[in-house]
Symmetry: C2
């Protein structure tokens, strides 16, 4: 996405923010009513977003208190293309364990509800998700998942937004520069932001059920 | 599968064994030539077979030296139907870790090359496989996989054999009673037996590549 001037970019961000906040407030009414106790917005929560894949997994961590969000860290767990599947899963599980030990997140968020034409791809992505979820569960971290469209809708106000548009909005929400960051890690940050919205909307009563 | 007399059962086992040994010796010629160093049959190896699933995972362990096979232990890792996916994956990873610490297997074998009509099922089974493979890889245990048809062919001489037929042949090869065992665990034992055959056929030169 290219903008001719700074003013044009700022106008686009303003419009996207307006659409995103509208979409979040309507999204809550159609979500599964799985929680019965409202969530206290004054409590600080650390949310880890993980954009799972076998070869390049993005991760991003934010702190949330009420409507305030702050970036903590983000990055990618990369596996060389010549590595065996078992080696990739080992690195992935080890990487997530390391991130947990370093930052102690309270909640983890993944992308869910995938639609693949190819069963083989679904199996491979499924293995990566299994390795990540089992490590999170062993560390007693609750896992939530959102459909990719819903995450983009919450962050950009448009379910078909590109990865570049997501990165611009993540930069704007968190007040950080995302130009040098991998798009997989800004995607992961957007998942954490999406969950932060759901936590603060209607006292968290519209949160999806845990995975 | 019902047999009218002990003699009829014994004849069936004899025929199945004949067909199985023929199939193993032809299977070797079409497999990928991935190993270049012949495997010493005099060395004892402990093989763990895992029949992976989210709710009920069967496992079976055998010791192999040359053409001699001996059952070590087998069982199932069960998760209640009401448990969350993350809880199931946690139990599965924990269960496999416990088995490894108890029995120290040298090699693990899984079922591979699945064909599902349903992508959702492939994703769920993929997560279970991911949780298992990551634990095996973290413990430096090489993982091999065989197509379900190939395992049945190696054990029963018939790629379409039923789970009950597989259990009868497993009982015969290992000299154990399988009547009281779960079919998932005898299936897991059959995977270990299939790999034992591949190890002893042509000095293990026809082994498939590691996962």
């Amino acid at each position: 996405m290219r903008f001719k001037s700074q003013q044009q970019l700022e106008e686009w961000i303003k419009r996207a923010k307006g659409a995103a906040s509208a979409s979040v407030h309507t999204a809550g009414t159609v979500a599964t009513q799985s929680n019965t106790v409202p969530i206290d917005p004054a409590v600080q929560r650390r949310i880890l977003g993980v954009d799972t894949a076998l070869r390049c997994t993005g991760w991003g961590m934010i702190d949330v208190r009420g409507n305030n969000m702050k970036a903590v860290d983000c990055g990618v767990i990369k596996n060389p293309p010549q590595d065996k599947v078992s080696g990739c899963l080992r690195c992935l599980a080890g990487g997530i364990r390391e991130i947990i030990q370093l930052y102690h997140p309270d909640i983890a968020v993944l992308e869910g509800a995938f639609y693949f034409a190819n069963v083989r791809t679904a199996m491979i992505l499924g293995s990566a998700r299994g390795a990540v979820i089992s490590v999170l569960a062993e560390n007693n971290i609750p896992v939530y998942e959102y459909a990719p469209r819903r995450i983009k809708q919450a962050v950009c106000g448009n379910g078909n937004a590109s990865k570049e548009q997501v990165a611009i909005m993540v930069a704007n929400y968190l007040g950080i520069k995302t130009d040098a960051l991998a798009l997989d890690s800004t995607d992961a940050l957007s998942m954490a932001i999406c969950h932060a919205y759901e936590l603060t909307t209607a006292g968290g009563l519209s949160l999806p059920p845990e995975v």
